[in-house]
């Protein structure tokens, strides 16, 4: 690349002529993301109150092992440390997916690393590597997390189906819908809207091609993903609140703090 031979002025940290409250947006992102990480870690460590009736908290789904109740592989095997909860086995996938998401990346580089603190506002550090070299070059694995995240949509969808079947005293299951079913359904809807608007998916379904004519299915898929992609930021936040809300709802029901409202 050509060079600029004249030295340019170095901007100091937070130096700007901006007069608007440029620090509000990164502060809000910082607060929400830190609270979410705090809550999710706490919830994942609890190892209790993650299910109630037919409901299962999305933080614990898929439930691979469980000491009581239904799970994919029954009781925890001998090698499974006592202090670990089954949530800790699976949370790495949604966490990795969000951590490497293009939208969140841009947002947390600003909010947590001040790189930049906000647009046209001076930075605290002189050196810069970006995503070109280790460690941030690892962000390029995002599409692999996407593949796993798509599987999670089906698993969470299955949980909603399960949340419609209520066992009676004899163990027979009857169809029914509670507020919790709707909470879980809303959660999977928002997570799906977030996941299916992923930039990597947009690329994989058609973005890598230069020609759509004569490929109507691809074109339709690309248009659908692009449509969700335009609202990717919105769904990123809504789904974050939804998943936290869904865990909280199941948790509070299980703890007896609130009573589920049985609709049907």
């Amino acid at each position: 690349m050509p060079r600029v031979d004249v030295p340019l002025a170095r901007l100091k940290f937070a130096q700007t002529q901006r007069r608007d409250m440029w620090w509000v947006a990164p502060l809000v992102v910082f607060t929400i993301l830190s609270s979410f990480i705090g809550y999710a870690t706490w919830a994942a460590l609890q190892n209790e109150h993650y299910s109630w009736g037919p409901y299962l908290s999305p933080f614990y789904s898929p439930l691979l092992f469980a000491s009581v109740g239904k799970s994919w592989f029954g009781k925890p095997p001998g090698w499974f440390p006592h202090w670990m909860s089954p949530a800790m086995l699976i949370l790495g996938i949604p966490a990795g997916f969000r951590l490497t998401c293009y939208y969140y990346r841009g947002a947390y580089y600003k909010a947590f690393w001040a790189d930049p603190p906000s647009c046209a506002v001076g930075e605290p550090r002189k050196s810069y590597l970006g995503e070109r070299s280790f460690p941030l070059v690892i962000q390029n694995v995002h599409r692999y997390f996407l593949y796993l995240a798509i599987i999670f949509i089906f698993i969470l969808g299955w949980d909603v189906w399960e949340a419609m079947w209520w066992p009676d005293a004899s163990g027979t299951r009857h169809f029914g819908i509670g507020l919790g079913t709707l909470v879980l359904a809303l959660n999977v809807g928002l997570i799906a809207s977030y996941t299916l608007g992923c930039h990597s998916l947009r690329h994989l379904v058609g973005g890598w091609m230069d020609r759509f004519s004569g490929r109507p299915v691809r074109k339709a898929a690309y248009d659908c993903v692009s449509c969700l992609n335009r609202r990717h930021m919105l769904f990123a936040w809504c789904s974050l609140f939804a998943v936290m809300g869904a865990d909280l709802y199941v948790r509070l029901c299980s703890m007896g703090v609130i009573n589920d409202w049985r609709i049907i």
Binding site: P2, R3, G106, P116, Y128, G130, H199, L204, F212, H232
Partner: protein, 248 residues
């Protein structure tokens, strides 16, 4: 008619300072009008570049109240009423004088990008056939007026001065316009990753925020190009698919 106060950067590469000017502001005035009035009334030697006064030539780029903007498209009525308006030159390029910067680095960068290279003509008369749906994506990028506001706001250039290793958002848009063109046959991904330094971009979207043509630079140009780089350099499975899947 109200009086407006403007703090304008005056100086050259060696030294400079903000100087305050007052001038009448009337309805419908843009910042460039105020600069012209100041030139006429109190600072005849104030250097400012402009050409079309219609947001189409990309010459009047500056920083107004700290944000990169076109002076001719910034209505004074949209700025905080009664407050002093700050006008500075762009910071990512060498200053020539007052509000004028030397943006020639951008033209040199452009020359490093491989030119449009179409496939063989589709018809015997030497013409090509294209469908609208194939060209829609690149039409957005063709709106670029080369104002270089996106280059100015990008922290990789503005704060980290990586001009020698990073071509900047304007040239990702330009590369995307060529690389996604259905007739084009050239390969630009390696240049993009290497010399172009697309990996330096941390997708913080400031370029998108300031683009006067409202090009979704990050979402529609940079990220899709980053994904093409992943195909080529970081994703073993996709690479295999491409070997057997044919051309795009």
């Amino acid at each position: 008619m109200a009086m407006g106060t403007f703090k304008v950067w005056r100086g050259d590469r060696e030294k400079g300072e903000f100087r305050e000017y007052k001038t009448d502001v009337s309805e419908g005035m843009v910042v460039l009008d105020a600069v012209h009035q100041i030139q006429a009334e109190s600072a005849i030697d104030l250097a400012a570049r402009w050409n079309c006064k219609a947001g189409k030539c990309g010459s009047c780029s500056a920083e107004i109240n700290g944000m990169p903007k076109l002076m001719c498209m910034t209505q004074i009525a949209d700025l905080p009423p009664g407050e002093t308006v700050t006008i500075e030159p762009m910071k990512a390029f060498p200053l020539i004088r007052d509000l004028v910067t030397d943006v020639s680095w951008n033209y040199a960068v452009k020359k490093t990008i491989k030119k449009f290279s179409p496939r063989k003509p589709d018809a015997p008369d030497g013409t090509w056939r294209m469908q609208q749906e194939d060209i829609e994506r690149v039409q957005e990028f063709r709106k670029c007026i080369e104002c270089f506001l996106c280059q100015d706001v990008c922290h990789v250039l503005r704060d980290h001065h990586q001009h020698a290793e990073f071509m900047g958002p304007r040239f990702f848009v330009y590369t995307a316009a060529l690389d996604m063109q259905p007739l084009d046959t050239e390969e630009r991904i390696e240049h993009l990753k290497g010399e172009g330094g697309i990996g330096f971009c941390n997708i913080t979207k400031c370029c998108t925020k300031v683009c006067p043509e409202e090009i979704k630079i990050t979402d529609n140009a940079i990220i899709p190009l980053k994904e093409r780089v992943v195909d080529e350099f970081y994703d073993p499975i996709k690479k295999l698919f491409r070997v057997f899947g044919g051309r795009r």
